[in-house]
């Protein structure tokens, strides 16, 4: 009975939460209604980018209670170990090693693959700000390479251009809308005798050749950060079929590495693991809701010329998590990508330019590292933005964003003039 009362309490408290309101765009007629030009923002509470799933609290508390009874919230084999088993099952891999966050897992894999050699890590120049820092933490330098225009990923050709005698690893990154040419990259890696490791943080749940991501290359890395598909508050994990690599990673994170290796405390705690378990329970339904949001955006934005919701590649055959909604801006869209971002952000739609500037032209490029032009990465970095997504974005919100975009399209040149005046002033 005690348990039942508690369960009802959790549900009652959390269900009392009222959905976030928005004022509605339909009433607006004038440019001055745009928040960037002094109007009232469309969304009172910002609409974020990021999954921010709300897992079942009953399940979370029941698991946390188990850890509580052992008086240990970290370093135990209980909840974390079971999570690793479930995740290995999800990805169809022999091993899964969990970490306090994805960064810790990635730098450990990169360091193990480098095997003590200082060198360079081949990585896409159109990518996450953290990538070059990952290489540096593993005692390596980043080697930025161009990407494929359609997949946004390294291609066998662009990656080959970066490989030399000092390459310790290829760090492939799966894009949310495409895992890229995984087989081609793996063949390249094998032919050049270089290890390949995939950062698949944005592609959890996706497939390549109908095989779940997780088992490609030497290993793949995923995140349990709340803004990603699986909300474990924070955390990360590495999947692999390489038993020796998995063993070495377990030793490193527990501080008990073999001679020559440098361990680092990096364990996932039981609290975060409990939340990840609860999130995993609702994964299929969550992906279904993501796909609904993605479809809503595609429908609502279909008639916007020059504003395209980036489609998933081979969506008829492959699975995706549909969390990320990227939009591509090209002529005849009347405003620049950056202007569009600024307008939407002022309205409380927390959009972001995607991977802009490209890494080789950013502050995250190590000082003194000269990199030639990488034309595709530079072009892509000027074109894309990420739209509000995840569980804090409703069907109505998507419609509101789309109405706003239609308004922008309709009044494009006038808005551009006003923004230019504003900048000049």
């Amino acid at each position: 009975m005690q348990g039942l009362t508690v369960n009802l309490r959790y549900t009652a408290i959390l269900k009392s939460k009222i959905g976030k309101q928005s004022r509605g765009w339909a009433m607006r007629q004038n440019l001055d209604d745009l928040a960037i030009l002094g109007g009232v923002p469309l969304f009172e509470a910002p609409r974020p980018i990021g999954q921010l799933a709300a897992p079942n609290p009953e399940r979370f508390f029941a698991l946390l209670r188990q850890a509580y009874e052992t008086t240990s919230l970290t370093g135990q084999d209980g909840i974390v170990r079971r999570l690793e088993q479930r995740l290995a099952g999800l990805h169809g891999t022999k091993h899964c090693v969990a970490f306090a966050n994805a960064w810790l897992g990635i730098i450990m894999v990169l360091r193990l693959l480098a095997a003590g050699r200082p060198g360079n890590v081949v990585m896409p120049a159109f990518g996450y700000r953290g990538l070059p820092h990952f290489a540096r933490w593993a005692g390596q330098m980043p080697r930025f390479c161009d990407v494929d225009e359609a997949t946004h990923c390294l291609s066998p050709v662009t990656a080959a251009a970066g490989i030399d005698a000092h390459t310790t690893c290829i760090l492939g990154v799966a894009a949310a809308h495409s895992p890229g040419d995984v087989d081609g990259l793996c063949s390249l890696a094998a032919s050049r005798n270089v290890p390949i490791f995939f950062d698949s943080v944005n592609a959890l749940g996706a497939t390549y050749r109908k095989i779940p991501l997780g088992s490609f290359g030497c290993a793949e890395a995923f995140s349990l950060h709340a803004t990603k598909l699986l909300n474990g508050f924070e955390g990360g994990y590495v999947t692999t079929n390489d038993g020796a690599l998995a063993k070495a990673l377990r030793e490193l994170r527990a501080g008990s590495a073999a001679e020559g290796a440098i361990p680092l405390p990096a364990q996932l705690n039981e609290v975060h693991a409990a939340q990840a378990h609860a999130s995993l329970d609702g994964l299929d339904a969550l992906i279904g809701r993501n796909q609904q949001r993605y479809d809503d955006y595609r429908t609502a934005c279909a008639s916007l010329a020059g504003f395209r919701i980036l489609p998933r590649e081979n969506a008829d055959r492959e699975r995706y998590n549909y969390l990320t909604i990227a939009a591509e801006i090209r002529p005849p869209w009347p405003l620049t990508r950056n202007q569009t971002v600024a307008i939407l952000r002022a309205e409380g739609a927390f959009v972001q330019a995607l991977y802009s500037p490209p890494l080789h032209r950013s502050v995250d490029c190590p000082p003194g590292l000269a990199v030639d032009d990488l034309p595709v990465a530079e072009t892509l970095a000027s074109r894309f933005l990420l739209l509000p997504s995840g569980e804090q974005v409703s069907h109505h919100d998507v419609e509101q964003v789309a109405e706003l975009l239609h308004f922008i399209q309709h009044h494009g040149s006038a808005i551009a003039d006003r923004l230019n005046e504003k900048t000049a002033a």
């Binding site: 939460k17 240990s72 919230l73 508050f233 501080g255 440098i262």
Partner: protein
């Protein structure tokens, strides 16, 4: 249990604690408070990324430690890595030979070369004279480790760092809540780091922080700890974000800090009574009035009197289900060079023993541990003989 016609567990008897007593504080807040706090998180649906509880924790820690800034991160090792990058340290860093292995690991991951020096015979802390001898033209910093909640400053160390133009940093993982002359530990050198691993007094299911009075350093640390857009230039960043879950636990733990210190003092007093009168055993200083958070309850054995050293004691007690620790020189510091360079540290490793001291350890259990230590000392010569024969 031994003493009633049975032998020690290490020689085949039944252990005193079939369910082992683990080392470390393992302080947990009342379940009801945890439930309420997590329901708050679930209502706000704000889970990570510098959330309201993380911001509250940064502020509460700075207030409690009376420092300008606290920057919370994933764990104590990440705190040291962030501090090393925040100070842009390269080259060698002098560390005491008695230092947690994780500290050495974190410094190496941060690109530094830890160079060990011997420690002071009484405090076990870094000795300024030994540190001075370890300095080379490539040295950029000295790390002082506040072992066992020690509040004393190694004499001459700050002056040495200043004279040589070296950054002085403190690993204060074991000293959260310790105070010297009423002032909380935390404002030493260029910055201090803490760990909120459950072994320590403040438990955030891991977690750690850097504290400093240097505002510019604090700004760099806040940029370093995540990959968000930031106007502050730093060379190397990391993901050291603490979650709202960890911050919730840390805030509750902080609220109960004085209670935890008092409980540690009470357990220390129980140990004192139980160990009183055993020849060759001395409870380490750190009782009421010492300012120590008392998370580490240590005893010094005089092997010449007791006939057994700390290493054998740890083994015998471990077999009984009692997890103790003794000071160890991390393997990474020994390298290929000959041993014997750290004579004082090695000697402390043979005579110093840290006892279980956690929220879950009660007076009856402490009495059992003390009785066992009595019996071990009484039987020391046989134990030593049999252990040697086995080896």
């Amino acid at each position: 249990m031994i003493g009633q016609g049975k032998d020690f567990a290490i020689f085949g008897g039944s252990p005193a604690f079939p369910d082992p007593l683990r080392f470390g504080q393992r302080n947990l807040p009342d379940w009801g408070r945890v439930e309420a706090s997590f329901l708050g998180i679930f209502e706000r649906q704000y889970y990570a990324n510098n959330g309201p509880l993380v911001r509250a924790l940064d502020a509460a820690l700075a207030r409690r430690l009376r420092v300008g800034h606290a920057v919370v991160v994933t764990n104590g090792a990440v705190a040291l890595m962030a501090l090393a990058k925040g100070l842009e340290l390269k080259g060698e860093i002098v560390v005491p030979a008695l230092v947690p292995a994780s500290t050495v690991q974190a410094l190496i991951w941060a690109g530094l070369e830890p160079v060990a020096c011997d420690v002071d015979a009484e405090s076990g802390l870094i000795s300024a004279a030994a540190a001075a001898a370890a300095i080379t033209p490539r040295t950029e910093a000295i790390a002082s480790v506040r072992l066992w909640g020690e509040t004393s400053e190694p004499p001459g160390l700050a002056a040495l760092a200043q004279d040589k133009g070296l950054a002085l940093v403190y690993d204060a993982a074991q000293a959260f809540g310790s105070a010297r002359d009423g002032r909380p530990i935390g404002s030493g050198g260029a910055g201090e780091t803490f760990s909120f691993h459950e072994e320590h007094i403040l438990n955030a299911a891991e977690g750690g922080c850097v504290v400093t009075d240097d505002s510019a350093l604090a700004d760099r640390l806040r940029t370093i700890r995540a990959f968000h857009a930031s106007p502050i230039p730093v060379a190397q960043r990391l993901n050291g974000k603490m979650s709202e879950a960890q911050a919730a636990l840390a805030l509750l733990s902080l609220e109960h800090l004085e209670r935890h210190i008092a409980a540690n003092m009470a357990r220390r007093e129980t140990y004192r009574r139980g160990l009183d009168g055993i020849p060759g055993i001395r409870l380490r200083a750190g009782g009421p009035g010492a300012g120590n958070n008392a998370e580490c309850i240590g005893i010094d054995l005089d092997p010449a009197v007791t006939g057994i050293d700390a290493e054998d004691c740890v083994r015998v007690l471990a077999a009984e289900g009692i997890e103790c620790r003794r000071p160890l020189i991390p393997r990474l510091l020994l390298g290929n060079r000959s041993e014997g360079r750290f004579a004082v540290a090695e000697r402390l490793g043979r005579c110093r023993l840290l006892l279980p001291n956690g929220q879950a350890v009660d007076d009856r259990q402490i009495a059992t541990i003390c009785r066992l230590i009595h019996v071990i000392m009484r039987d020391a010569s046989r134990i030593r003989r049999e252990l040697r024969q086995r080896a």
